[in-house]
Amino acid sequence: MATKRHASDNIVGHGDLTKRVGVEQIRARGVDVEKLIDLLIDAAGAEFTTYYYYTILRMYLAGNEDYKEICEDARLEDRAHFELITPRIYELGGSIPKDIREFADRAGCPDAYLPDDPTPTNILTVLLEAERCAIRTWSEICDLTLGKDPRTYDMASRILQEEIEHEAWFIELLSKERDGVVRPSGHFRRGTPGEAPYSKNLGFYNP
C-alpha cells in the first residue's frame, strides 16, 4: 500500500456535525482555511459593491449604447460572482458580515465611485481598474487553491476568466475612446446581458 500523501479525514468523528470532511480535506492539503474564507469574503464584498457602483457608472455612459451594454454585462456578471461565492463561504464555515456597510468596508477592491467629471474616458478607466483589481484577486485565490482545493479553484477560475474578459472589453473601449488606438478584445458577444457563461456554467457563445 502506498504511503498516504495527506492526512486523512479521520479527524471527523462518526456522525460529528461540527466538522466537515470537505473542509478538513483541503486543510490537510495545506490550505489555510481561515485565510481563504477571509479572502473570499473580501472578494465577495468587492463583487457586491461593484454591482452597486456599475449600476451608477452605466447610467452615466449616456449616449454610448455600446459602452452601456458592456458595462451592463460586467455589472450583472459581477453580481453573479457574488451569488456564486457566498455559498462557498458558508460551506467553508464562514459567513458574510452582519452589516452591509462592514461588507463594503472590507471589500478587497475600492468603491468604484462615479468620477467627478463623468466622461466616458474617466468612467471606462474606473471600470478597467476595478476589473484589474478583481483579476489580481482571483489569480491569487487560484494560486492558493491549486492542487489543494479543487472546488474553490474551479470557482475562482470561472470568475477569473470572466474578469479577464471584462478587462479586455474595457481596454478595447478605453483604448479607442481615449487614445484612438484599436486593441481588440478578441471577443464576439454575450447572448444576453450578464450571461456569465463561466460562473453560471451556461453554453458559450460559439457560433
Binding site: K35, L36, D38, L39, L40, I41, D42, A43, G45, E102, D105, R106, A107, G108, C109, P110, D111, E129, R132, C133, R136, T137, E140
Partner: protein, 124 residues
C-alpha cells in the same frame, strides 16, 4: 505592472534616496523622483512586491517606514491618519518627500493594526 508608468527620474525636479528592506533582510537603494510612486520605482528596479488594487485601498502593498520620513499619500483611496502615525505606507500610491528606509511586506501587520483600532480593512 503599475497603473501609471514611472516617470523619467532624470527629468524629475527632485529625487530622494529610498531603501527597500525585504523580508530576507536584503536592501535595495534607489533614487526616486518626487512625482514617482514608490511601487513603480521598486518595479523599475526589478523588485517583485505584492500588490492588488494599485489604488491605495487594499493594503496588499503595505510597508513600514523605519525612523523618520515624509511621504505624500494623497493619491490613496483609503489611508488613515492612524496608519501614518504608526509608520505604515501604501507603496502603490506613495510619493517620497524625504529620504526613506522602508520595510516591505507589512500587509498583515497593517491589517491587524487597523482591526485593533476598529478601522476598516480587507481581512484576507
Amino acid at each position: 505592472m503599475p497603473t501609471f508608468p514611472p516617470l523619467n527620474v532624470a527629468t524629475d525636479p527632485k529625487t530622494y534616496r529610498v531603501t527597500f528592506i525585504l523580508p530576507d533582510g536584503s536592501e535595495t537603494c534607489l533614487e526616486v523622483g518626487e512625482d514617482e510612486r514608490l511601487y513603480a520605482a521598486a518595479c523599475r528596479a526589478g523588485l517583485n512586491l505584492p500588490c492588488l488594487c494599485l489604488q491605495g485601498w487594499c493594503i496588499t502593498c503595505a510597508a513600514r517606514v523605519e525612523g523618520e520620513g515624509a511621504w505624500d499619500q494623497s493619491l490613496s483611496l483609503r489611508y488613515f491618519p492612524q496608519d501614518r502615525e504608526a509608520g505604515f505606507i501604501l507603496l502603490c500610491t506613495a510619493r517620497p518627500r524625504s529620504d526613506l528606509r522602508i520595510r516591505t511586506h507589512q500587509r498583515v501587520a497593517l491589517r491587524d493594526y487597523r482591526i485593533s483600532r476598529k478601522l476598516p480593512t480587507p481581512r484576507g
